[in-house]
């Protein structure tokens, strides 16, 4: 994470003085964007850089669903299955995805291309069902649109 410190310094400048502890979440997010996950060495580096207790970072990493400590597939498909999405066919969509990819939610395809996850409400109920691919929302999904999307992702 050392090469990210100049970025962290810019971030810090907009926070009030004494808010080092606040930087845990944004720094962890940036590290994860950079590496794909948060490694032990990143935690050590952050402890040193921010001066916060290591346990605070470990707690944060395990508490928030978006953070992870191990690598996942190149494309992270997060299919929402909360109330509105389920009312708009999300459960069938997830079954379809699972069959197409040959993995259950929570698993990664053997080629490392796709990780399938379920999500509990992504705040996109008006355009349900929604599937998030890495950072991008794909809204008003259907089985046909999903198949096309998978093909595009495989080629990308």
């Amino acid at each position: 994470m050392k090469h990210l410190i100049p970025e962290f310094e810019k971030l810090k400048a907009r926070f009030p003085a004494g808010f080092e502890s606040s930087l845990v979440l944004p720094c962890v997010r940036r590290i994860q964007e950079d590496r794909g996950f948060v490694a032990d060495a990143d935690i050590d580096g952050l402890v040193e850089y921010l001066g916060v207790p290591r346990i605070q970072i470990e707690e944060v990493l395990s508490y928030y669903t978006q953070f992870r400590r191990a690598a996942i597939g190149r494309w992270h498909l997060q299919a929402c299955r909360n109330v509105t999405c389920s009312m708009r066919s999300a459960e069938r969509l997830i079954d379809h995805l699972s069959r197409r990819l040959g993995v259950a939610p929570g698993q990664t395809t053997p080629d490392g291309m796709f990780t399938l996850s379920t999500a509990e409400c992504l705040g996109s109920c008006g355009t349900a069902p929604v599937v998030m691919v890495n950072d991008t929302y794909h809204e008003n999904m259907s089985i046909e649109k999903l198949d096309r999307l998978l093909e595009e992702l495989k080629r990308a």
Binding site: D40, I43, P53, R54, I55, Q56, E58, E59, S62, Y63
Partner: protein, 480 residues
């Protein structure tokens, strides 16, 4: 001073108190798991609910400030219903494996179940399983299934010992107390306090694990001799009525565990780990045979020999023990007055890696009664011993003496509790009792005097220093 009413009774509260504090200070009991007088308010266990009169809901007492004229009920029907419900929630995924739990018998959860619930489980669901045995540190094990996530241990390491060793990982009903991955709990000399403040059997002492049911044990008030703080402790040992006869009778005279005894003037509710390990000090191999030049003799013969040496000495020097109690040190002074050039040595020095001092409890002098000795023999007695050239007798009491430094040609009388090669080299050796075999007092660095009581009988072949000095004094006065 606001006046509040608890169950209709008027109570004078302090302005900044919570209802919990005011209630406990005035003899009203409100149950609590997560609340602890020395820790910040977490308000997570929800067992301390009370009802403000006239309201149709309950609130937690630990976070409710007192206000003038507040009327609270600690035992209304609504409060009882919610307490029972909270107990059901807490025990929902608790394994109720009291039969194999060291905490049984002193477990808040057990007590509260009988006090506030008492019904069989109303759940049909399988319990959520978690780690049954987790090595939290070299000294502490954690049973996550028993843990009720009150966070007392976490707050202790953040607010009291400041090691920030513990935290809660994950979330929801799979939350787990865990130590940080670089295991700072191993380096926290106060870590074992989390065992005491754990209200359930989640955090347990590895050395004590499955060693004894607590109802077979009794606590004897004592003082930790590990440093000049002199923390008040309870030494737990087997009750007389539960003495073992056939099976390992050594357990009858051994220390089962040591826990803090709350003493606001000295240590509050805490002690350091060194105080927990007193068995390692007192249960080292013991000397129980008096000797003259390495040859076993009966205790009276050895005492007669000491008397003879003292009577014949022209320049006797005494190296006293700062592990001696005020009573023992005074007995020496009463017996011999200025007969000896008297020095008080440091029986124990810090061991490598030991924390020397901090702003919680640990003090740099690793002996319990330097202050008591100073009061009796003066500051100069604590200096490095200066032996006159014609020193002809040295009386050494306790550990920490460098025998090579004693004047050559001087006779040596050695009083010691433990097996040590020097015992056999002394002209006269007399085995003496240890702290757990007698009562007495120590004076700590701040001048606070604390007493310790006897846990075990000493062997008859072992002398009690206080009685020994008194006996020698009587003989000396008769002889003169």
């Amino acid at each position: 001073m606001p006046e509040i009413f608890i169950n209709g009774q008027a109570v004078q509260a302090q302005a900044n108190q919570t209802v919990m504090q005011a209630a406990l200070a005035n003899g009203f009991y409100i149950p609590y798991f997560c609340w602890h007088p020395q820790l910040s308010i977490a308000g997570n266990c929800r067992i301390c609910t009370v009802q403000v009169e006239g309201r149709s809901w309950v609130e937690i007492a630990c976070n409710m400030p007192v206000t003038e004229g507040l009327h609270v009920l600690t035992d209304s029907d609504l409060v009882r219903e919610h307490r029972k419900a909270t107990m059901q929630f807490i025990t929902l995924n608790h394994p109720v494996d009291c039969g194999i739990c060291d905490k049984a018998g002193e477990c808040t959860l057990q007590d509260y179940h009988f006090a506030y619930n008492g019904s069989p489980s109303v759940s049909r669901e399988p319990k959520v399983h978690a780690t049954k045995y987790h090595d939290l540190s070299a000294r502490i094990m954690l049973d996550n299934e028993r843990c009720i996530l009150c966070s007392r241990c976490v707050r202790f390491t953040r607010e009291i010992s400041k090691s920030n060793a513990l935290g809660i990982k994950n979330r929801g009903d799979v939350s787990l107390v865990r130590a940080a991955e670089d295991s700072p709990l191993d380096g926290d000399p106060y870590s074992d306090n989390v065992i005491d403040i754990c209200p359930v059997g989640a955090l347990l002492s590895k050395p004590f694990l499955h060693k004894a049911r607590v109802w077979y044990l009794q606590p004897t008030p004592s003082v930790c001799p590990g440093c000049e703080r002199g923390c008040s402790v309870d030494i737990w040992h087997r009750k007389a009525e539960w003495r073992l006869r056939a099976l390992d009778p050594a357990q009858n005279t051994s220390i089962a565990r040591v826990t803090p005894r709350e003493n606001p003037a000295v240590n509050g509710p805490w002690i350091c780990n060194k105080g927990r390990d007193l068995a390692q000090v007192f249960e080292r191999p013991r000397a129980d045979q008096a000797m003259r030049k390495g040859k076993p003799v009966e205790l009276p013969a050895a005492i007669a020999a000491v008397r003879q040496l003292i009577d014949g000495a022209k320049r006797p020097v005494a190296l006293l023990s700062n592990w001696g109690s005020n009573e023992e040190l005074a007995a020496f002074k009463d017996a011999f007055g200025g007969r000896f050039a008297t020095f008080v040595k440091r029986d124990h020095e810090p061991v490598p890696g030991e924390r020397l001092e901090d702003d919680l409890l640990i003090r740099p002098d690793k002996n319990p009664n330097t202050a008591g000795a100073r009061a009796l023999f003066g500051e100069s007695s604590l200096a490095t011993p200066a032996f006159p050239a014609d020193t002809d007798l040295v009386l050494v009491w306790g550990e920490g003496c460098n025998f090579a430094r004693l004047p050559a040609g001087a006779k040596v009388v050695f009083l010691n509790a433990y097996l040590q090669p020097e015992n056999g080299h002394a002209d006269v050796f007399i085995p003496i009792s240890v702290q757990t075999e007698r009562a007495g007092h120590y004076t700590n660095f701040a001048g606070v005097v604390s007493g310790f009581e006897r846990c075990f009988e000493k062997k008859s072949s072992v002398a009690d220093a206080q009685e020994l000095f008194a006996a020698l004094a009587v003989e000396a006065s008769v002889a003169s």
